[in-house]
């Protein structure tokens, strides 16, 4: 009797052992085998908490941080702060606990938040110790004086400035107005929600980075590309020889005629046509070069490249490659489907200044650990030949003439060589919109062995009086200020 009960107790004990085993196996399943899946579940706040548990790395301009971190004492502890937020917003973007990250804050997030595996002292070290690296720093290529000059130059007007160093592609200034304070979006509270709603509802789109994320018809500034294509293709061999260009010019295959703002464009040689921006001459030149060579040169300058990253993406500038002759004529003077970002037009000016070579633009000089040790550097960037070096010499000449005696005299800097090109781009249905004022230029100081800066400026609402709008009047002074800032520093 007692023995049978012993057996039953043993069986019941075996059942309890089964229950214990089930618990252990299930705990192993949850904690080891499925742990990654659970850790990565979007509703799991742990990664977010860990992300904000330490100060975010800094973005440096001219050796000084333009960002900071504030201890909020909340569950998501550190919030991003910005010094001079609106000035650098087109570079930094925002880092919001609620709305994610943009621009450099986004593309360099791994470094800044400390999650990049390159920050670890040894491979796999953090996996073993569960340690978290302090956020690293991002050193930018920006020139604070140039950035400041561009921002001040645009003032309350809507527009954008991009400046690059022609020989390297380093971006020296990247400004977009109107701007906003990215710090207002950092937190996760009601004030961040209000700012987000307000900024998104603003018709002026202050969060739009016009320097790289907005394309404009480049207007007459595109004549730099057309002139380079004509010289490269041999359509024009002598800058001072008369071209066979009627005024007005009837677009091939249509009855539409194209005219110029001023006189003296009939059969004008390339030099004076460029100096005085003759639409008729360049429209016909584009047609003479042909679609193939025109798009070849445009693409060599960087048009139609959808993959430009500086390291955040840049909206592709476009030159339509399937055009009839009338469309090609309009495209060659920067109208029709031709669109460009200010950064792209800065690259055009830079290519002329740099002997025809296009350097890929970049914004991050290097990234470092918190202590300053370098994690990665920009390294050497690919080079593309946009035009023959000989053509580049001729183009420099043409652009210098524009500043010394043409439409761009407002950009002249005493003691420096400056080349430029103005543009006034029509847009809107039936060209009813306020024209965009453009200016692209480059400058070389007296003691410099090569041009130091190439700039593109676009001003959307240049002037209240439509007839007064011109690249030379509104955009050139801003470009001048930026170039002076670079040459002076």
């Amino acid at each position: 009797m007692t023995d049978s009960m012993t057996r039953h107790i043993r069986l019941a004990a075996a059942f309890c052992t089964l229950l214990l085993l089930a618990l252990l196996v299930n705990a192993t399943r949850v904690q080891v085998f499925q742990s990654r899946t659970y850790d990565d579940n979007i509703a799991n706040r742990r990664q977010t908490i860990a992300r904000y548990d330490q100060p975010r790395g800094a973005i440096l301009v001219g050796g000084k941080p333009v960002t900071g971190s504030r201890d909020s004492g909340e569950q998501l502890r550190y919030e991003r702060t910005y010094r001079n937020g609106p000035l650098y917003a087109p570079v930094t973007g925002f880092a919001s606990q609620e709305y994610g990250t943009t621009l450099l804050e986004h593309s360099e997030d791994g470094i800044l938040s400390g999650t990049d595996s390159m920050l670890a002292p040894f491979p796999l070290w953090n996996d073993l110790t569960r340690a978290q690296n302090p956020g690293g720093n991002v050193v930018t290529t920006l020139n604070p004086a140039a950035q400041q000059a561009a921002y001040a130059g645009l003032g309350t007007r809507t527009g954008a400035v991009a400046a690059i160093e022609p020989s390297t592609g380093r971006i020296l200034a990247l400004v977009s107005t109107p701007s906003y304070d990215p710090g207002s979006l950092s937190g996760n509270g009601r004030s961040a929600n209000r700012s987000w709603a307000r900024l998104n509802a603003d018709p002026d789109k202050p969060m739009l980075n016009r320097a790289v994320r907005q394309t404009y018809p480049p207007g007459s500034t595109f004549k730099v590309v057309t002139a380079a294509a004509a010289l490269d293709a041999g359509v024009v061999t002598d800058l001072d020889a008369a071209t066979n260009s009627p005024d007005p010019y009837t677009l091939p295959g249509t009855s539409t005629t194209l005219t110029n703002e001023g006189d003296g464009c009939v059969d004008a040689p390339l030099r004076s046509a460029f100096e005085w921006s003759c639409n008729t001459v360049f429209a016909k030149l584009g047609v003479d070069v042909g679609v193939r060579d025109m798009s070849g040169t445009a693409e060599a300058f960087g048009f139609n490249d959808a993959y430009v990253k500086i390291p955040f993406s840049v909206s592709p500038s476009t030159f339509d490659t399937t055009l009839d002759k009338a469309q090609l004529a309009l495209s060659s003077i920067g109208q029709y489907n031709t669109r460009a970002t200010p950064l792209q037009m800065a690259m055009v000016a830079a290519a002329v200044a740099n002997g025809g070579q296009v350097r890929e633009p970049y914004l991050v000089e290097r990234t470092t650990r918190r202590g300053g040790e370098t994690v990665s550097t920009a390294g050497s960037r690919p080079v593309r030949q946009a035009m023959h070096p000989a053509t580049a010499v001729q183009m420099k000449e043409l652009m210098e003439d524009v500043v010394t005696e043409g439409t761009g005299t407002n950009a002249a800097i005493p003691g420096a060589t400056v080349g430029g090109k103005t543009g006034t781009a029509q847009h809107g249905i039936g060209n009813s919109g306020t024209p965009y004022a453009w200016f692209v230029s480059w400058a070389q100081g007296e003691r410099d062995i090569e041009p130091k800066v190439a700039v593109a400026v676009v001003v959307e609402d240049a002037s209240a009086d439509r007839s007064d709008i011109s690249g030379g009047g509104d955009a050139a002074p801003i470009a001048k200020a930026v170039m002076e800032a670079v040459l002076g520093s």
Binding site: T2, S4, M5, T6, R7, H8, I9, R10, L11, A12, A13, F15, C16, T17, L19, L20, A22, L23, L24, N26, A27, T28, V30, Q31, V32, Q34, S35, R36, T37, Y38, D39, N41, I42, A43, N44, R45, R46, I49, R130
Partner: protein
């Protein structure tokens, strides 16, 4: 033979071969348990504030004194008792206090550790009272019907009080929340053991045979089924499915051990399945728990954010193999009931699979020691009581630990010793006290036998 030990007095000459009493081992293990708890307490303070918490010495001293007093009571009144039971109780209770203290740091407005410490003191006091006052477990057999009456009263009481969080299982007296159902568990175990010990022959051999199933007579089975139905009915009224399941499991286990009828086990499982399906279908509260278990992340997919079970799973997953370390996890994200029903998630996140397995094994040892006492005892009541008490711990740990780790649908229940809840701590100390008494009897009878 079966009444060996009752007629023998302590005046016997010293036997030639005595079983070791192993009280020294117990004391050593208690010291280890107290040191581990104090270490945990300090680790929390160091992780959260960078300093050893100010109350560390007091906490260690308090826990140490309590454990020491309990040890002295055992040494004097139950010298043959199993040396593992008390240290396991001390370690689990100490760890529970550490975890609750750790979670208190996240909820500065709602501190539960001081109250829990008071309850732990009460629990250990009760332990000492039971060990000192109850000289022979067979005394309890006489009070079987008093026990069942008391159990039913305790179970019925909360119906008169307002429901808290959808369950009517609390009564509030002078600011203290008491969960009478906890005490009822032990009382019911005593009753089941006494009743089945007295009637097991009738249960096993009488009655009609239906196909291959030997049914007991209605006369014998009637009262016990009635009482079981009543307790389950009360629990469903009170919406406390966990305790209901526990009673059922206890009942089936003891019935099986007493009669040896596998049929009971089958019938029990069948009834359990039917009951689970019926309750799962009809009771919306339970139905949603089943759905949560099947699809723990449904609320996330629906855009409502993670529910408690999902948060609990996240916590366990975050712990991984070795855990984040005490004070460094985020199990407080579970929110409501993080210190009670979900306390294990904090252990899982901060101590990892290693720590969690250690805790499971501690419970496993406690249960095993209970079963061992049951095997060693001679009298059927003692055997059934030991098995019953050990099974309560086993089932309770399985139901709640399985629930929070997504193994079975979640039912609210307190993790023995770890979870916040005064009644639970006191009850668990009572269970350990009874197991101490039972293991003492088991070895004493053997020792006396050898001596004779």
């Amino acid at each position: 033979m079966t009444n060996a030990g009752t007629t023998v007095t302590a005046d016997l000459p010293t036997p030639a071969v005595r079983l070791p009493r192993r009280r020294g081992i117990e004391l050593t293990l208690i010291v280890v348990a107290v040191l581990l708890s104090v270490y945990g307490y300090c680790a929390v303070g160091l992780a959260k504030n960078g300093t050893v918490p100010p109350g560390a010495a007091g906490y260690g001293a308090g826990l140490g004194v309590l454990a020491l007093l309990a040890h002295i009571a055992v040494r004097l009144r139950a010298p043959y008792a199993d040396p593992l039971l008390l240290p396991i109780g001390v370690l689990l209770n100490g760890l529970g206090l550490v975890l609750i203290y750790r979670l208190d740091l996240e909820t500065p407005g709602d501190r539960a550790a001081p109250t829990q410490l008071v309850w732990s003191t009460l629990g250990v006091t009760f332990f000492i009272v039971v060990v000192v006052a109850l000289r022979d477990h067979r005394v309890l057999q006489r009070y079987a019907y008093v026990c069942v009456a008391a159990a039913l009263v305790l179970l019925t009481l909360p119906v008169l009080f307002p429901a808290v969080n959808g369950a009517r299982i609390w009564i509030r007296i002078a600011g203290f929340s008491i969960q009478p159902g906890e005490f009822a568990k032990v009382l019911l175990a005593v009753f089941f053991a006494a009743y089945l010990a007295a009637n097991r022959n009738a249960l096993a051999y009488a009655g009609r045979r239906v196909w291959r199933l030997q049914l007991p007579t209605g006369r014998v089975l009637g009262p016990i089924v009635a009482i079981w139905l009543l307790s389950v009915g009360v629990l469903i009224l009170e919406r406390d499915l966990g305790t209901s399941l526990l009673f059922f499991g206890l009942f089936v286990t003891l019935l099986y051990v007493a009669t040896g009828r596998t049929g009971w086990f089958a019938v029990g499982l069948l009834l359990a399945a039917l009951g689970a399906v019926a309750v799962g279908r009809l009771e919306p509260h339970v139905h949603s728990r089943v759905l949560d278990w099947l699809h723990p992340f449904a609320s996330i997919d629906a855009g409502h954010g993670p529910n408690q079970l999902a948060q609990s799973l996240f916590a366990f997953a975050a712990g991984g193999m070795l855990g984040t370390g005490l004070g460094l996890g985020h199990s407080i994200l579970i929110g409501f009931a993080a210190k009670s029903d979900f306390i294990l998630a904090t252990a899982g996140e901060e101590l990892g699979l290693a720590g969690l397995s250690a805790i499971f094994i501690l419970y496993g040892l406690l249960v095993e020691r209970g079963y061992r006492a049951g095997l060693a005892l001679r009298d059927p009541f003692g055997r059934l009581l030991a098995v019953g008490l050990a099974s309560i711990v086993a089932l309770q740990v399985f139901v709640i630990a399985g629930g929070v780790t997504g193994l079975i649908p979640l039912t609210g229940m307190a993790m023995p010793f770890l979870a916040q809840g005064g009644s639970s701590v006191v009850t668990n100390w009572a269970i350990v006290a009874l197991l101490i008494r039972l293991s003492d009897s088991a070895r004493r009878q053997y020792d006396i036998e050898v001596a004779a």
